[in-house]
């Protein structure tokens, strides 16, 4: 029942905002529906953490601890993003860059986007999951191109062309998994349900599964933003409106990663650990190296945040490659921590862009002196994202490295730490340039309205709280890790 509410409520709000001309109240209504999603996600988690999975519509929807955790992630970052969307749209309308009609389209698309992500993590069937992930691509293309500038059109073209190709590969991978399931002798009613695939995973034909898993890593990896399929990511994330960037970077990438985690569990059964691990280690390390080298010379702070996502997706791939319960629990905590920190940073960068009118790092100086609230949030967000305590990314990165060392991937962990050190230096120097120094004499200190800062500070406090006390999340993380861990 809760699972149906989770899907129906944001979808209904999407329909409402599509037909009515946009007003602030409708924006707040949309935010409230994502709040409902978050609450329902917590309710679902409480029920499945020690109990059996919940199913609805004859197994079409299936909620286990992993799905419930992902609903919480989507709800939490969705809440931040839709909250800021109200302000974003008001400002765009006030500045004459957007009409009310256009704004209601934006609002409806964001609701549809969130609903599609929720469907992807709640689907009990890997085919339906695929359809939902592809639907997110189509919906977000319009959101990336929302501003209708030359740059945003180019970004949305690149985005849909590359991601459609990627997701087509994932479809072929899914078809091949289905083919392998059809040819498991005793299993007459083969289907694409996640549970029945897991049940037969040890009997799936290894030759076909090897090809299938490689295609799935390439395909879903494109949406995750793993190198070398990441080239759409910095363009799309830097051109989209800030709340959309927050949603894409904070959750969409990890929803695709969730699909990879599910398929990795099936591939582990069919192929043993070595092959899936090798693919994920290769993709993870390459992503880290690419991110490190491109962050060094980055001139645009939105692109800097985007490449930072490539780094974090690489870390997640390495963690998943290790695959032990400790590693997967750390991966999941990292998904939530990264989502919150990255969401806050993209939303803050939207405010900075609005206030300063540029995305160039070189043009922005002395934020802390001139706009203390925005500068402070941006600074703490960077600290969180770089994995310093007390934020939860510190804990999750530490545990991923520990888990990797335990399974003999210490060398990969060492390379990843080296890349992280380079990134740390690069981002620190960019951040220092933007934050410190003294503003021009006589310029007054700009205040930022509380309606903007409250959710951003809330997100950072949540991220820090997760790093200090694991309760009440730890039993959920452990239960969710059990679903896909080795």
């Amino acid at each position: 029942m809760l699972a149906i509410v989770v899907l129906a409520v944001p979808f209904a709000a999407g329909i409402a905002s599509a037909v009515l001309p946009w007003r602030r109240e409708i924006g707040w209504l949309c935010t409230a529906t994502i709040g409902v999603v978050l609450v329902c996600g917590i309710g679902l988690a409480a029920r499945v953490v020690h109990g059996p999975p919940i199913t609805a519509f004859g197994g079409a929807l299936r909620v286990d601890a992993l799905s419930a955790f992902m609903v919480i992630v989507i709800g939490a970052i969705g809440l931040l993003a839709t909250w800021q969307s109200v302000r974003y749209l008001s400002l765009e309308i006030a500045a004459g860059r957007s009409s009310r009609r256009h704004a209601s389209l934006y609002s409806a698309l964001v609701q549809g986007f969130v609903t599609a992500m929720l469907l992807a993590v709640l689907a009990g069937n890997v085919g339906v999951m695929w359809v939902a992930v592809e639907a997110t691509t189509i919906i977000t293309t319009f959101l990336v191109g929302y501003r209708q500038t030359r740059g945003s059109l180019e970004a949305s073209w690149k985005y849909i062309a590359i991601c459609s190709v990627g997701i087509a590969m994932a479809f072929l991978g899914t078809v091949l998994v289905y083919l392998a399931a059809l040819h498991v002798g005793h299993h007459l009613h083969a289907n694409l349900d996640w549970t029945s695939l897991m049940a037969v995973s040890h009997h799936l034909d290894p030759g076909v599964m090897r090809l299938a898993f490689a295609l799935l890593v390439l395909g879903y990896g494109t949406k995750v933003g793993l190198a070398p399929m990441h080239s759409w990511l910095p363009d799309a994330h830097s051109q989209a409106p800030a709340p959309v960037s927050a949603l894409m970077s904070g959750v969409l990438l990890t929803v695709a990663f969730y699909a990879l985690l599910r398929f990795k569990a099936i591939a582990d059964g069919a192929l043993g650990v070595a092959f899936p691990r090798a693919l994920l280690v290769a993709a993870g390390l390459l992503s880290l190296v690419v991110a490190a080298s491109l962050l060094l010379t980055q001139r645009d702070y939105k692109r800097m945040l985007a490449y930072h996502s490539v780094e974090h997706m690489g870390l997640l791939a390495l963690g998943a490659a290790a695959g032990t319960p400790l590693a997967i629990a750390a991966v999941l905590l990292h998904i939530l921590g990264h989502g919150l920190a990255k969401g806050v940073l993209f939303l803050t960068s939207g405010e900075i862009l609005h206030a300063e009118g540029t995305t160039e790092i070189a043009q922005i100086k002395a934020l802390l002196a001139r706009r203390p609230a925005l500068g402070g949030i941006f600074g703490f967000g960077l600290v969180a994202l770089l994995g310093l305590p007390p934020f939860s990314l510190f804990v999750s990165e530490l545990n991923m490295v520990r888990a990797e060392t335990q399974v003999g991937l210490g060398w990969a962990a060492a390379i990843s730490l080296g890349c992280m050190a380079v990134i740390f230096g690069a981002v620190m120097s960019h951040g220092r340039h933007m934050l410190f120094g003294s503003g021009p004499d006589g310029e007054r200190v700009h205040k930022t309205p509380g309606i903007v800062t409250v959710p951003l500070i809330g997100g950072l406090v949540g991220c820090a709280a997760l790093g200090v006390v694991a309760w009440p999340l730890d039993s959920l993380l452990r239960a969710a890790a059990q679903v896909v861990a080795l």
Partner: protein, 219 residues
């Protein structure tokens, strides 16, 4: 349908799918490319139709009719409108010239046979033997997207990829479950519509249909 007629018609229809993919690399007039794509869509539907009739599978026959309608008619018409609006509707300077592209297509077909050995080994039927043709079509689609710079050519490349995958799906499993099949076709149709809308916006706002002229974003 007798056994040999079934096998040879299946081979013919699957072969046409691959040949049409090669034709899109060979021709440089965009309207000819779109026509090849329409023929390919119909051939793909015919493959599903033959399989459906052979297995007495009503659902598959219905899917086949949908495929013919969507990929043989609707999508080519949509693309044709974009081509008609663009006066210079030729792939003027592909990154790789036509003879080299054709050699590439041959190499990719070999690669497809090499990569699908394990899949073919699992299905000892006529349909199973034809699976590499679907893979080859898909790879040619990727190749076309990589070396062609016109907006329409890239959409065509994406559709080649999709048709190749659909051919594999039909031959290997007689189609994935209907719900997934419908979802997948609808998504591809929507992706093409979205790309078409984007192409129209590029054209009306900036007078560009050539992706080489869209070079704002870089590091």
């Amino acid at each position: 349908m007798s056994g040999s007629a079934y096998a040879s018609s299946l081979e013919l229809a699957s072969g046409v799918v691959l040949v049409c993919a090669v034709v899109t690399l060979w021709r440089r007039s965009l309207s000819a490319i779109v026509k090849a794509l329409a023929v390919q869509g119909v051939a793909l539907g015919v493959v599903a139709l033959i399989l459906g009739v052979g297995k007495h599978d009503g659902v598959l026959i219905a899917v086949a009719c949908l495929v013919i309608a969507a990929k043989g008619v609707v999508i080519p018409v949509l693309l044709g409108r974009v081509v008609a609006g663009d006066p210079a509707s030729r792939e003027a300077a592909p990154i790789v010239n036509v003879p080299a592209s054709l050699v590439g297509a041959g190499a990719l077909t070999f690669l497809a046979y090499g990569a699908t050995g394990s899949v073919v080994a699992l299905i000892p039927t006529t349909a199973g033997r034809l699976i590499p043709l679907g893979f080859a079509t898909m790879l040619i689609g990727y190749f076309a997207m990589a070396v062609r710079r016109k907006a329409v050519s890239q959409i065509v490349g994406l559709l080649l990829v999709d048709n190749g995958i659909a051919l594999v799906a039909f031959l290997a499993t007689a189609g994935v479950p209907l719900l997934v099949e419908l979802g997948a076709s609808l998504d591809v149709l929507l992706a093409v519509v979205v790309l078409r809308v984007l192409a129209a916006q590029m054209w009306s706002k900036f007078g560009v249909l050539d992706l080489d002229e869209m070079r704002e974003l870089h590091d």
